[in-house]
């Protein structure tokens, strides 16, 4: 057996829990009402274009991304704008949402093609970037960074590799896995479009070895596409971190504080490649996505194709309701997802899964003294010393923690996961990072 590639520093192997890996994607019924937040991405919130009482079609632009780093928002159903409201979303803060009540008949925007499109069409790079931007595509792995920004390679840099992040290293989640099995061709077409746009000759699709069927499937399909290679990776969390994935695939370290393009890479999520296909060949904006709904006591762990804005509650209803034993509901995976306080919060572009966690796992254990076992340091994929960062933050020594690299932390949670003394290392590191950010912005002002 050959040794599988992986990243070099740290890493953990939590239980995989991919319960829904064999459940085909089901189209989720259209909800009665959708709640569409105007900020589902990193960057400036979009500006609302519709008013109460207005009728909207499926796919219609309802909020416009302002500035370069922002993203358009489209209506995911046909209906009437009930109100512009605020709702507590998965961030825990109230956010502006456009509430739309569904009409009986679904009418799609005129230019959207809902049948098999002609995929021989050619596009100029400018057209591609424009269309990705119009379609409101963001990184679908959870980071939700606007994709058109990544597609614009800065002056003086070249994108030697397009890297497709199909790692899905978060336990339990299977939305990317199912998408690869069911939409492999579309994904590869989306990839070719991106390769042409970036003027890249080589694409590496990184997939962890616990998805052998997806690896084989894409390997077979990719024979028809030049320069696309599927690479099977060792199962190791957090391989889906951009910097870790680049390291695993091409053995290059993105320098601290820099972007992947520094080492000649553009990284896109596999779901994003599919969205690019839909935007280019079908004129379809990002109004739906695959969401895994799962958990140890969920009767039927499932993968749904869900319209953006669908209340998370209704997804839970669809898998048999909230089991008695569940004490925590997480938007995303168990390592980096956010605990929900409000189950009527909507599915957004970044919702890759809804995870129901049982009582026995949901509450934290009592923290004890650090026993200086160095396990946190050994597992940190960024080579940091989490115990030290926690300690410096506790002592309010923020400048020292900055020197120790606190801003390099990717918040993967490996340190807290591992600590035998149950210390909430990442909680304190987050506090430290925000303090350092404040200090940095003051520095800039001076």
């Amino acid at each position: 057996m050959s040794i599988l590639k992986t990243f070099k520093l740290g890493g953990i192997h939590p239980k995989e829990g991919k319960l829904s890996a064999n459940s085909p994607i089901k189209v989720f019924p259209l909800p009665k009402t959708v709640y569409i937040p105007v900020s589902q991405h990193i960057g400036a919130p979009a500006t609302v274009l519709v008013a109460k009482g207005e009728t909207v079609k499926t796919g219609q632009l309802i909020a416009k991304g302002e500035g370069f780093i922002s993203a358009n928002i489209h209506s995911s159903i046909t209906g009437k704008v009930a109100k512009i409201d605020e709702i507590v979303d998965s961030s825990g803060y109230p956010k502006k949402v456009i509430v739309i009540d569904r009409a009986n008949e679904e009418i799609w925007c005129d230019n959207i093609i809902n049948s098999d499109p002609n995929t021989t069409k050619e596009f100029t790079p400018e057209e591609v970037k424009q269309k990705i931007r119009e379609a409101g595509i963001v990184g679908l792995g959870g980071a939700t960074f606007p994709s058109h920004v990544k597609m614009s390679v800065p002056e003086g840099k070249t994108a030697e590799y397009l890297i497709i992040n199909a790692v899905e290293c978060e336990p339990y989640l299977t939305s990317d896995h199912r998408l690869m099995l069911e939409k492999g061709d579309e994904i590869l077409k989306g990839i070719s479009i991106m390769m042409k746009t970036l003027n890249t000759k080589k694409t590496l699709i990184g997939i962890e070895n616990n998805k052998k069927d997806a690896i084989e499937h894409l390997q077979k399909l990719s024979k028809n596409y030049s320069g696309v290679e599927v690479i099977s990776l060792k199962v190791q969390y957090p391989q889906g971190g951009e910097k870790q994935l680049i390291d695993a695939l091409i053995k290059k370290e993105v320098p601290s504080g820099k972007l992947p393009i520094e080492v000649g890479c553009v990284v896109q999520n596999v779901g994003t490649a599919f969205a690019v296909y839909e935007a280019l060949y079908k004129n379809k904006p990002l109004i739906e996505r695959v969401v895994t709904v799962t958990g140890d006591s969920v009767k039927e762990p499932s993968n749904f194709l869900v319209r953006i804005g669908t209340p998370i509650e209704s997804l839970i209803e669809a898998v048999g309701g909230l089991p008695e034993t569940v004490a925590k509901v997480v938007n995303g995976g168990p390592m980096m997802g956010k605990a929900l306080s409000n189950l009527s919060a909507p599915v957004t572009k970044g919702t890759s899964g809804i995870l129901l966690i049982d009582k026995k796992e949901a509450s934290r254990k009592i923290p004890k003294n650090c026993i200086r076992c160095a396990r946190c340091t050994m597992v940190c994929p960024m080579g940091l010393a989490p115990y030290l960062l926690e300690n410096l933050t506790n002592r309010k020594l923020f400048e020292s923690s900055e020197k120790e690299g606190i801003m390099d932390c990717i918040e993967c949670g490996s340190c807290s996961y591992t600590c035998p003394a149950n210390r909430a290392l990442l909680d304190m590191i987050r506090v430290g990072k925000s303090e350092v950010n404040t200090i940095r912005s003051k520095r800039v002002k001076k």
Partner: protein, 335 residues
């Protein structure tokens, strides 16, 4: 469960299996082979020393935490048991029970709890207890009963009584006898491997210690860095002296098999609280402890030296931690 009772906390939402308890009880299991070997060769006396040492350690920890410090006792975490066994391992099987109590009080009360308990102590508590006893009761601490000949299938020379193999050699060398002569009366390599030698309770059987050490490595309770650098340094340095003057120095293998080197390498130098936090730091720490051990053995007043070497290295761990930071990902060199 209704929505209002949902637990809200930051990620990560799952937790690995390791806990302080799992680590401590893992260490206890790893020490059982050595304990059994010791009981085999020294009889009930060895068991008695370890059992009393554990009982004293646990009771002192409980009493001090409950009545003196007035905090929730932490004896359940297993660390007092580990300290107790380790202390017992470092004592001769004939030590009077009250002295064991003194050692445990120093180990738990002074070396551990006065610094703030598990995790805050700079020095390995068991070693502090041992060194305290060694300095206070030098005679009792260095009279080693001979292993029970009847129990063993190995040859046990008569001259063994009352001294450890290294003690014998040190004495002989001081008198100017050639090594070959001395070795005739000292236990063989094979005896040392299985445990038919004089010494403290835990150090008798090299084989049992290696089995325990491999278990710790297999369970990922320790990493290889400290044991290997420690043993490697001793092998290299004693090897160099041996090659230069074989008539004056014993061979490296004999060093490795005797005098608690393996006990130190696998169970004491690896104590996580008192060892460095990065792999490079651990290598430095192990090598330093090995070097000091061999210097003490060859040139110092004591025939052994592991305890002192580890304690000295414990003292400079904070410096090691500053000097050897882990390698950062994508580190940008300033300048």
């Amino acid at each position: 469960m209704g929505q209002s009772q949902l637990i809200i906390s930051h990620s990560p939402h799952i937790k690995g299996k390791d806990s302080i308890e799992s680590i401590m009880y893992g260490v206890v299991i790893a020490m059982l082979p050595a304990l059994m070997a010791s009981a085999w060769f020294y009889g009930i006396g060895a068991l008695k020393v370890v059992i009393f040492s554990v009982i004293f350690s646990v009771i002192f920890e409980f009493l001090i935490q409950k009545y003196l410090l007035k905090i929730e006792p932490t004896v359940k975490d297993g660390s007092a048991i580990v300290t107790g066994i380790l202390l017992g391992f470092n004592l001769p099987s004939s030590l009077p029970i009250w002295m064991i109590g003194v050692g445990a009080l120093v180990a738990i009360g002074i070396a551990k709890l006065s610094f703030g308990g598990l995790g805050k102590n700079p020095f390995n508590p068991a070693l502090v207890g041992r060194v305290f006893l060694l300095v206070s009761f030098p005679v009792e601490m260095t009279s080693w009963p001979r292993p029970l000949d009847t129990r063993t299938m190995l040859s046990i020379p008569d001259a063994l009584t009352g001294a450890t193999p290294l003690g014998l050699i040190k004495e002989g060398v001081a008198k100017g006898e050639p090594i070959a002569e001395i070795m005739k009366n000292a236990p063989s390599h094979l005896d040392a491997l299985f445990g038919a030698i004089g010494g403290s309770v835990g150090e008798v059987s090299a084989l049992a210690l290696i089995v325990g050490g491999l278990y710790l490595l297999y369970k990922k309770i320790i990493t290889w860095h400290i044991p290997i650098s420690f043993l490697g340094t001793i092998a290299i340095f004693s090897g160099v002296f041996w090659l230069i003057q074989p008539e004056k120095y014993v061979d490296p293998l004999y060093h490795l098999l005797t005098g608690g080197i393996l006990l130190g390498a696998f169970f004491m130098a690896t104590d996580m609280v008192t060892s460095p936090m990065s792999k490079l730091g651990m290598l430095f720490f192990g090598a330093g402890a090995g070097l000091i051990t061999i210097l003490i053995r060859l040139f110092g007043a004591y025939p052994e030296g592991v305890s002192f070497a580890i304690l000295i290295m414990n003292a400079i761990v904070p410096l090691i931690n500053i000097a050897f930071k882990p390698k950062r990902f994508g580190e940008v060199k300033n300048g």
